[in-house]
């Protein structure tokens, strides 16, 4: 069964460093998303991406964040200068279409630890 994959599973970085989290969405999906979950809190939407551009972003997704689909398979989230409060699980998701019945399928997540 097709699934969303994410690498790395765990990333440790120093405050102020850049990190790139990688995702391979399900191959026939067209809509891509990043969410995060800070320990003990709920899963929060960061950004959605369709047709090579951002379709929606939350207030969390500030200028330090960017997303890219560099080729036909990968979808990346870059944090330019990490802060302590960026420590969280980051989940990539994809869906085939939008609207009703647009189930989003999630990857296993990348645990980002900022020291």
């Amino acid at each position: 069964e097709p699934e969303v994959t994410q690498t790395p599973s765990h990333q440790v970085t120093q405050m102020g460093q850049e990190v790139i989290l990688r995702c391979v969405p399900i191959s026939n999906h067209l809509y891509f998303y990043w969410y995060r979950q800070i320990l003990g809190q709920k899963v929060e939407f960061l950004v959605s991406f369709y047709n090579n551009e951002i379709s929606e972003k939350s207030e969390i997704f500030d200028d330090q964040f960017s997303v890219e689909r560099p080729d036909g398979s990968n979808f990346t989230l870059k944090i330019r200068s990490t802060k302590l409060e960026d420590s969280a699980m980051y989940f990539c998701a994809s869906s085939r279409r939008q609207g009703v019945d647009n189930e989003q399928f999630f990857g296993p997540g990348t645990r980002l630890t900022v020291l």
Binding site: Y33, K42, S48, S55, E56, G99, D101, F106, G107, G109
Partner: protein, 114 residues
């Protein structure tokens, strides 16, 4: 921002009995609702969904009920099995164009007692 609420942080149910997980929402623009199951160190796994034009959707042991007037939905699992022990998240979206984000509740940890 508590647009989706799951007021029970935890629930314990005997194996074989019915598990009922509840979710309330405040945003009347939500018209699509999903339940996800999450094990530790894994991503959320889609379970079942319902659109606002329905009041019930069933898939095997899982049934979701939607009460739009009360802005309430529930997930019924029957019979409950030990493998159902996980955190369950309710999520909602408003399907107008360009607004596909899922808004999640805080989750309910379900423990099935053998």
């Amino acid at each position: 921002d508590q647009q989706v609420k799951q007021n029970s942080p935890s629930l314990s149910v005997q194996e074989g009995r019915i598990s009922i997980l509840n979710c309330d929402y405040t945003n009347s623009m939500f018209d699509y609702f999903l339940w996800y199951k999450k094990y530790p160190a894994e991503g959320p796994t889609f379970l079942i969904s319902i659109s606002s034009i329905k009041d019930k959707n069933e898939d095997g042991r899982f049934t979701v009920f939607l009460n739009k007037s009360a802005k309430h939905l529930s997930l019924h699992i029957v019979p409950s099995q030990p493998g159902d022990s996980a955190v369950y998240f309710c999520a909602a979206s408003a399907s107008d164009f360009g607004n596909e984000k899922l808004t999640f509740g805080t989750g309910t940890r379900l423990t099935i007692i053998p």
